[in-house]
């Protein structure tokens, strides 16, 4: 197992390097630069700005200079926010996004997993249709719609919860977490139901049943492990995807998170910020995909054996 993890971590280096390289050149060839604005920029001013950001160097030289900085852990100065380094911006946005993501994922796994498992136990009955219909509505309801709807209901009409903010007013974390979690909960409900149904028809479940185990023990001891494999495969990228996905929620609820920086960096052509957030995101993706693979292996003993050999 440890060799497997170490191997995967080693593989992460070329992955992240590839992401950096592609992104670095991708953003440079995209139309529009960081200093373009609605009012024409005087050429001398533009030249001075480019010099301050090393953009006057040949592209290859810029690339290697960036890699050198990166090796020292420096992501460079932001274009959009002069006087701030990308490290600082990420550090400023990360806590809120990480917290939001964790709550959302908790909501998603608990609600979605529960709904999916419950539904799978009695397929094609009310116990199946009701949670699954709710889940389907959750999928149809994009966050840009669900968020405002929840705000109108709980924030404006009932006045139970704050309409915006993060950690400012008691209870202001509830609506954003629910909003972001809902979409994932719906996916997880559907995937876990399907996974469970798949497993429930396998021979080893029949064996377990034949041994006379009570149904709930069959589910918790045997079926859940296999049934949740598709969910786990989905969770890895989903968690990393939360970062990009939380942008909408962060905007609706005025949350000072990383998602806003990530998306705005692309809109602003904030080269260093795009690269910085992408490096950060790719590290997360590699880690969470690894984590989800480890979890899948743990859930599936045969795979565990295979990784043990590898």
């Amino acid at each position: 197992m440890w060799r497997f993890i170490a191997g995967r971590l080693l593989q992460a280096i070329p992955v992240i390097l590839a992401v950096i390289t592609v992104t670095f050149f991708l953003v440079r060839v995209a139309p529009g630069g960081p200093f373009d604005s609605e009012k024409a920029v005087i050429p001398e001013v533009k030249a001075a700005l480019e010099a301050q950001y090393r953009l006057d160097l040949p592209l290859g030289q810029q690339y290697f200079a960036y890699l050198q900085d990166l090796a020292r852990g420096e992501l460079g100065p932001s274009f959009k926010y002069p006087g701030r380094s990308v490290n600082e911006l990420i550090a400023a946005g990360l806590p809120a996004t990480a917290e939001l993501g964790a709550y959302a994922l908790l909501v998603a796994v608990v609600l979605g997993g529960l709904a999916g498992v419950v539904a799978s136990l009695k397929p094609n009955s009310a116990q199946d249709y009701i949670p699954m219909s709710v889940a389907m509505i959750g999928i149809c309801m994009p966050t840009f719609l669900l968020g405002p709807l929840l705000v109108l209901l709980f924030g404006i009409h009932l006045e139970w919860l704050p309409v915006a903010g993060w950690g400012d007013i008691p209870g202001d974390k509830i609506l954003p977490s629910l909003t972001l979690g809902a979409a994932y909960a719906a996916y997880i409900a559907r995937l876990s139901r399907a996974g469970m149904l798949e497993v429930m028809s396998q021979d080893y479940i029949r064996t377990a049943r034949a041994k006379g185990l009570p149904e709930w023990q069959v589910v918790t001891r045997h079926a859940l492990r296999g049934g949740l494999i598709p969910v786990v495969a989905f969770l890895g990228p989903a968690f990393a995807g939360l970062l990009a996905g939380s942008f909408v929620v962060e905007t609706i609820f005025q949350i000072p998170g990383l998602g806003r920086f990530y998306v705005q960096a692309a809109f602003n052509r904030d080269y260093t910020m795009i690269l910085g957030t992408t490096v950060f995101l790719s590290t997360l993706i590699v880690l969470f995909n690894l984590l989800s693979d480890i979890l899948a292996a743990w859930l599936n003993p045969r795979l565990r054996a295979q990784y043990g050999e590898a």
Partner: protein
Amino acid sequence: MTSANLTDVVQAEQGTSLWKDAWRRLRKNRLALFGLAVLSVFIVVALLTPWIAPYAYDAQNLDLGASPPSAAHWLGTDIFGRDLLTQILYGGRISLAVGFVATAVALVIGVTWGAVAGYVGGRVDAVMMRLVDILYALPFMIFIVLLMVVFGRNLLLLFLAIGAVEWLTMARIMRGQVQSLRQQEFVEAAVSLGLSPATIVRRHLVPNALGPIIVYTTLTIPSVMLLEAFLSFLGLGVQPPATSWGLLISYGAETMEEYPWLLIFPGAALTLTLFALNFLGDGLRDALDVRGSGD
């Protein structure tokens, strides 16, 4: 009744193929048939839209503006005084096309990629899945903007762009399924029988992994329809006065307090499609489940 039985017998004698067998089971599933019927109706309506739409899709009436449902406009009008029913009909053409085609692209790439990676394993698997990781991490927005600059705006590009992102998760799920199936007795039996890997993947692994894949596909179609709206904001996707369900919903969301019908009806169209897809998807899953009890 008798004829159906007869066909069954005939098929059985021919050696019932997986798909025919599945169709036989699917026909018994009323919800799945309902889903199939709804989707068929939607597709037929989408094809016939130019002939059956009550108004021209770009006919405006600025002085009328947004009006609630009435006899003249069954589903009301938008802020330009355009008939909402007409907008939904035309929007459905785009959304259904994008939803099905882009998802199909994602499905083909994702399932193949995931199955190969999962079955072959080892180095090949590592390289293939790390490539997936790389694609996950690239800034999607910049990627789309660049695609447009290079290729210009067109619908084909839209399908490819969406397919290009959606296949990644599909591949991961497929790979997970194949990995867990690969060590099962029936696959090992097939290997020991000397069947070729391609045959094993096609005959044994793909059908057995189909459950989650079908479900994920039915989830992908509506999310693709919504993704199309996002891409339209980047300039890819449909341009006014053409429209899509995703766009109608996002416009409707902005005015949901003032003109709720502009959100409710397009939203209902999308929701209905999703329900139909899911019923059909579940039915298909059950029908294809070769070992399942069929319940």
